[in-house]
Assembly symmetry: C2
Homo-oligomer: 535 residues x 2
């Protein structure tokens, strides 16, 4: 029996989000015209893939009777769970390549179900890949044969979507790991509290997925990483279930929670978490600042990050991105700046922040607004931002190779990292695509450095898209690492970042994680090949 | 050859800090009179212990020739490194019990020295206990025979005290692990930056010790835990040296740094760290708020913690502690409140904070002051605070059993925890000492709960002090755990908290840590018995 879908709207089985939110034919035509102007090419639109034209491997195992009520072996569900939503995932799906589909999708409805699935898989030697919203852009929710398992199941956790308890006194809640962002916020709303964690994937990702991938929220500073929003976790492993103590702070040995933050489905299944909530902000202010020179914007961001002001929003967008996505026509870089508080006015903070920006050559074309819809560059950029993943799918259909590289480094290292990554990307695009385009923005700011986000676009050749992407990915990743950046700031490691992760993290630490995995997952069935090599 | 001591002033070999800072005979007489009034007893002053009356075990090993220049087997150094500075450590030293003294103290002067010491110890089957400032109050720097090693060395890291590099752009520094608090701040001063991490042990503890024990600084909220101030670490283990990547943030797998934060000398020796610095605060304001009812003070603290104001200081002190240490004579609990910033005025924040306090029944007897010396309750409490460990030693000499219990729990759990811990402590004092005294204050505040700090005092019987302390410790620790608190918020686990740590942290997590330890320390020589059992 197939479980009831959470909503009548259909999720795309091959691309981002809702089927009905994909770019319209008109929008795609407009995009094609833009590409024509930009790259001088006549893009060739790939058709949307149709499952009836695809081939899926015959399932090699059948879930045992007790698990059949929670298993789904339908073509649509197996296809939808074959990949995450990286460029190479969408490109492979567009090419009809579904050879790696799971043998079954399993939808546990309780923590006990999760334990039963793991028990069966451990006994039957079946690999288990945890699947939340399926929004991984790093190859985190597929299976590429690591460890030589004959079969694999995609463990879809989205039926574990209850808010079990809300503690309004401590501002915390016990929530199941498979809950999607909007469901979580919807269920918290009556309490007046919010988790206030909005990764770009918010609509299509889960609490457990955020924790497993150390997800970064929308806010630029302070409480934005899910790492800091977790009070305690419940984890089911093949070796048993564990619950960490729910406390606001502790100094009792290495943090148990931090072992599972970033565990990417390889150390256990995060079935529940006590999470920290906040009051909904009521004081809000936002402004856009233009910087004629990128370097001045960077210096202003550093001053802001080190000021202690902790802006909720502080996103510096380079000129190319600013003109394209926010309609900034003066060739300036745009800084999207915002403050929020549930308790006290934020105007003084904005005033001081704008003063710091002006000290660094920033120009403020419009007075700060106090919330609501905005009609200026800030508002335009915001709309583009949430549409970006759908736009990406349309670009892929038009044959564009598109990828993002997100990293963090110190302020001292940043100028060089920016130069090296931009240069490596431009060279790779030149070599692989003949032509291309690189942009940069800041997503998060720390007193000691920025998290920078590079977007790369180039024209692909039909049939070679994945190989072209791989080549660009490798070249830019090398530049990120050699310039002192982390291979991932908030997208996680998955399979696509593994080679660089292995070089970034000391071997002894990786061996320590592998040893811990051997305790928690003796059969090595959990997301094999992620974080550590199968034994 | 004994290394040159870092200063001409002598560190006490048996008690806290500097010998010349111990309470004077007059002060001790005053304290005895106070105890007489309070407990109706005539305290019996134990003499300061004299090394010439003590017996030390004959060293069972001799460091090999290459290590002799950095080894010290003198009576004074072996005695000084026998214990940390817990009640039971001072009591044992006062009783002349130095049977557990290290066979040698080794003072590496370089990271290579540390590696050489570990290599020799691993080969010779000698246990190694890392020693920074020696301020452990949990039995973290002694050896109790765990794992059955015949000999042990105390690895004193205080010669690793260089500030290797200061990166003023990123506000960070590379610093060796053995640097003591005042030396660190002194060397940072010319840069205008500060680490701004002031645990009560600041003067007698090291950067590496802070990291190994997840130390909590003086500040009540925001950047106060050393966990959040570390960019990267260098760790020497018997299996080799490792360096984590220095970045402001990363989502690449479980955080390597967080594996060593709280590792308590059992997973490796923290020889260096890149640490985050801040500009020195220039805007400061402080105020004292009186609450006639403790519960109102608690409610005010919760409102402050959840307001987003992030006070630097927000220490609620109960009435007994307030009258004793801050001269608050109206029977009120005292809230010591403070704000600091290097960039912007903090008066508005103080104003809003005081408004929240008044909403909860707080009375502000004196307008906020903007730094400098204070003559009021806040000033008096501050002086007592830094003198407290010396006072504790004098109390121990006067036969008082004195201990502190520090924990954290949610706001929801706090009232019950406060009642249970107070009750358990009072009952234990009644049973063990016949009479006693329990106080409580908050040391740190989180939006989801307070870190509370209980002080326990009772009269001991000569010769039974350690056994009496053990009994009280066990009774109160049970209460902490059963009420939902962590067994330690910032004092660490060491040997004294092990039984409760083992119950608090899931067995699978502890097994995972043990497995990681087996990779990093295959011979199990590092601080055996701390965190995990010897194999």
């Amino acid at each position: 029996m197939a479980p009831t879908p959470p909503s009548r709207r259909r999720r795309s089985w091959w691309g981002w989000g809702w089927e009905d939110q994909a770019l319209t034919e008109d929008e795609i035509a407009e995009l094609a015209a833009f590409l024509n102007r930009r790259f001088g090419v006549e893009p060739d639109l790939r058709p949307k893939p149709a499952l009836r034209n695809s081939m899926l491997p015959v399932p090699r195992i059948a879930p045992p009777d007790p698990l059949r009520p929670i298993a789904d072996v339908s073509v649509h569900e197996r296809a939808r769970h074959t990949y995450g939503r990286a460029f190479r995932d969408v490109a492979r799906a567009l090419a009809g390549d579904l050879g790696g589909a799971p043998d079954a999708v399993v939808y546990p409805a309780s923590i006990a179900d999760v334990a039963r699935v793991l028990e069966w898989c451990d006994r039957a030697r079946v690999a288990v890949v945890a699947y939340g919203g399926g929004s991984s852009v790093v190859g985190g929710v597929e299976y590429r044969g690591e460890g030589g398992f004959d079969a694999w199941v995609s463990l879809d956790l989205t039926r574990l979507d209850r808010v079990v308890e809300i503690d309004t006194t401590s501002r915390a809640a016990l929530v199941e790991g498979g809950i999607m962002g909007p469901t979580l916020e919807g269920r918290l709303r009556p309490s007046g509290l919010t988790f206030r964690h909005f990764p770009q994937s918010f609509e299509f990702s889960t609490l457990g997925g955020w924790i497993a991938t150390r997800s970064g929220g929308h806010y630029a500073t302070a409480l934005t990483h899910v790492d800091d929003l977790v009070e305690g976790v419940t984890v089911v492993t093949p070796a048993g279930e564990l619950r960490t103590l729910r406390v606001p702070g502790s100094g009792a040995g290495p943090s148990p929670d931090r072992l599972f933050l970033g565990s990417e489905g390889a150390l256990g299944i995060i079935t529940e978490a006590w999470i920290r909530l906040q009051a909904r902000p009521v004081f809000k202010t936002a402004a856009g600042v233009h910087f004629a020179r990128w370097e001045d914007g960077v210096a202003a961001c550093r001053a802001l990050a080190q000021s202690g002001l902790q802006p909720a929003n502080c996103r510096l967008i380079d000129a190319v991105e600013a003109v394209t996505f926010a309609g900034v026509r003066d060739g300036a870089s745009l800084l999207v700046l915002g403050f929020e508080s549930a308790d006290q006015p934020v105007d003084a903070a904005m005033e001081r922040a704008l003063e710091l920006c002006r000290d660094h050559g920033g120009v403020v074309p419009q007075a700060p607004s106090t919330g609501g819809e905005r009609d200026d560059a800030v508002g335009r950029w915001r709309s583009s931002f949430f549409r970006a993943p759908y736009l990406r799918d349309a670009l892929i259909r038009l044959g564009v190779i598109v990828e993002t590289f997100e990293t963090a480094c110190t302020w001292q290292a940043f100028d060089e990292l920016h130069a090296q990554v931009t240069d490596a990307a431009a060279r790779a695009l030149q070599e692989v695509c003949g032509i291309g385009w690189v942009t940069c923005r800041f997503t998060h700011l720390y007193p000691d450095g920025p998290a920078s986000y590079f977007s790369v676009f180039g024209m692909g050749r039909r049939g070679s898209e994945v190989a072209m992407w791989d080549e660009i990915k490798a070249a830019v990743s090398e530049a990120v690492l050699s310039a002192g950046g982390t291979i991932t700031h908030h997208h996680a490691v998955g399979r696509d970042h593994r080679p660089w992760y292995d070089r970034q993290v000391p071997e002894l630490v990786r061996s320590g994680i592998a040893a811990a995995k051997a305790v928690l997952d003796p059969g090595g069935i959990l997301n094999p090949g992620v974080l550590v090599d199968p034994r």
